[in-house]
Point group: C2
DNA sequence: ACAAATTTTTAGATATGTCTAAAAATTTGT
DNA sequence: ACAAATTTTTAGACATATCTAAAAATTTGT
C-alpha cells in the first residue's frame, strides 16, 4: 500500500513537471522581462531589476519568482537573483516570437507605424494558439526581423544574432546600413521618421565632432548633424 | 466650504459616469453573455441563464452583476435579473464586432476552418486598440458577415438583421440559399463540411418526411437526407 | 572588519473573481 | 392560498497578483 502511494506521488510529480501549464499573462510578462534583462547580463537577474522593468515593487517580484520557481521556469536561490531554466527560456522566446510577428503584421498590413506597434503587440503576444502563430508566420512570409530590426526567433526558438555595431562607432568617411534601433521609444522613432532614417537606410559618416561626439552624416543626398544620443542607439552594418 | 464639497462630489460622480473604464476580460465576457441571451428574450436576463452560459455559479454572477451595475453597464434590481444599459450594449456590440472581424481574418488569410475560429477569436476580441479594429475592418474590406453567417456590427454598432428563416420551414419543391448556422459547434460545422453544405449553397427541398421531420434535399446535383436537428439549425433565404 | 547603505524577503492588507453552503425571495403546483 | 420547489442573494473562503512596512541578508565604503 505504501509503495503504491509513493508510486502515485512520483507519477503526480512527473506529470506536474511535464504538464502543459497555461501561464497567466502576468507570468508570461515576468519571463519575458527576465529574459530581456539577462540578455545584456552574464549573471543572475536581480529582484530590483525585474521590479523596475515591470514597474512593480520588489516584494511583488519575490512572490512571483517563487511561483515561477515552483513551476521550474526559473532557478532561484534567496537573495541570489534568478535565471531562466531551459523551459522558462523556451516560453520567453516563444512570446517574443509572437510579439515580433504581430509587429510585422501591424506594420505590413494594418498601416501601423513603427512607434505604434508595441502597445498592441504587448496584448496580442499573449493569445494562445499554436496554429495562429504558425499561420501568421507563413502569411507574413517568414520574416526574420521586426519593424525595429530585432530578430524574430524561429519555430524552434533559434534567434539570428543581432548586429552589435552602433553608428557612433563608425569612423569618418565610412558608410553603413541602418539595421535596427536600440531604443524603441516613441520619441526616438518619431525623430528618426523626421530625419528620414529607416531600416536599410545607407548612412555616410561625413565628420565626427570630438567635443560632443556628435556626427555629421549624409543620408539620401541630404546632410544632417546627429547627437551622440542618436548615433549610439542605431545598430548598423558596415558596407 | 460645504458647497464646495458638494461641487467636488458632483464633479467626481460626473467623471466616474463618463470615465473611459478599462474593463477586464471577465467583465467583457459577462456583457457579451448578457447581450446574446437578451437577443432571444424580451425580458430581463436571469442570473442562472448567465451562469449557465459562462459555466460559472449563480453566486459569482450576482457578484459581477453588482459590479457592472455600479459601472452603469447593466440595470439591476435584486431578484429581477438584468438588462444592459445603452452604455453596456455599446460595449457588448463592440466586442462582438471585434470577435467576428477576427473570425473573418482567420478564415480569409490564416487558413482556419469555420470550426476552428471561435476559440482564438474569444481571445483576440479582448485586445484593446481602436486603430487595430478600424484597420482590420479596412484590411478585410468591410465584411458584413462572419464565417458562420452572423452579421458584423459596423463602427457605430449597427447590426444588419439576420435571416430568421430556418431550412426546416422551407416547403417541398422550394429552393433556398444557406445564409448562416444557428449552432456553431464543431460537430455541427464538421457535419456540414462533410455534406458539402456551405454559406451560399443552393439547397433544393425535394421531399419532407412528416414522421420525423427529416427532409431530402439536393445540393450541387447530389441528393441527401438530413434530420430535423440539422435543418432547424440552418438559416436560409428563399429564392 | 564592521557600520551604513542597499537589496531582498516576509508579514499582513487589499482587490478581483471564483466557490460552497445557507438564507431569502420568488415562482409553481395543487 | 400556501406549501414545495426553484431561483437568487448573502456570507465566508480561497487563489492570484498587488501593495506597504518592517525584518533579514547582502554589499559597500572607509
Amino acid at each position: 500500500m505504501s509503495k503504491n502511494l509513493f508510486l502515485q506521488i512520483e507519477i503526480m510529480s512527473l506529470s506536474l513537471y511535464f504538464m502543459k501549464t497555461e501561464l497567466s499573462q502576468t507570468e508570461e510578462n515576468y519571463l519575458k522581462a527576465i529574459f530581456s534583462i539577462s540578455l545584456s547580463l552574464n549573471k543572475a537577474v536581480s529582484t530590483n531589476a525585474i521590479a523596475e522593468k515591470l514597474k512593480t515593487k520588489a516584494s511583488s517580484v519575490t512572490d512571483m519568482i517563487k511561483k515561477l520557481s515552483e513551476k521550474n521556469l526559473v532557478d532561484y536561490k534567496k537573495y541570489q537573483g534568478v535565471l531562466l531554466t531551459e523551459k522558462g527560456k523556451k516560453i520567453a522566446v516563444k512570446i517574443i516570437r509572437k510579439h515580433r510577428l504581430w509587429e510585422v503584421f501591424l506594420v505590413k498590413y494594418l498601416d501601423f507605424s513603427w512607434d505604434e506597434v508595441h502597445e498592441v503587440a504587448e496584448q496580442l503576444e499573449h493569445v494562445k494558439s499554436t496554429k495562429l502563430t504558425q499561420e501568421l508566420d507563413r502569411y507574413l512570409e517568414y520574416p526574420t526581423h521586426d519593424p525595429h530590426g530585432d530578430p524574430i526567433p524561429d519555430e524552434n526558438g533559434k534567434i539570428a544574432h543581432h548586429s552589435d555595431t552602433m553608428l557612433s562607432s563608425i569612423k569618418e568617411k565610412q558608410a553603413c546600413i541602418v539595421m535596427g534601433v536600440k531604443d524603441s521609444s516613441t520619441s526616438f522613432l518619431k525623430y528618426l521618421d523626421n530625419a528620414n532614417i529607416k531600416l536599410g537606410s545607407v548612412v555616410n559618416v561625413i565628420e565626427k565632432v570630438a567635443f560632443d561626439d556628435s556626427m555629421r552624416i549624409e543620408i539620401q543626398g541630404a546632410q544632417l548633424s546627429i547627437s551622440h544620443q542618436i548615433s549610439k542607439n542605431l545598430f548598423v552594418k558596415k558596407i
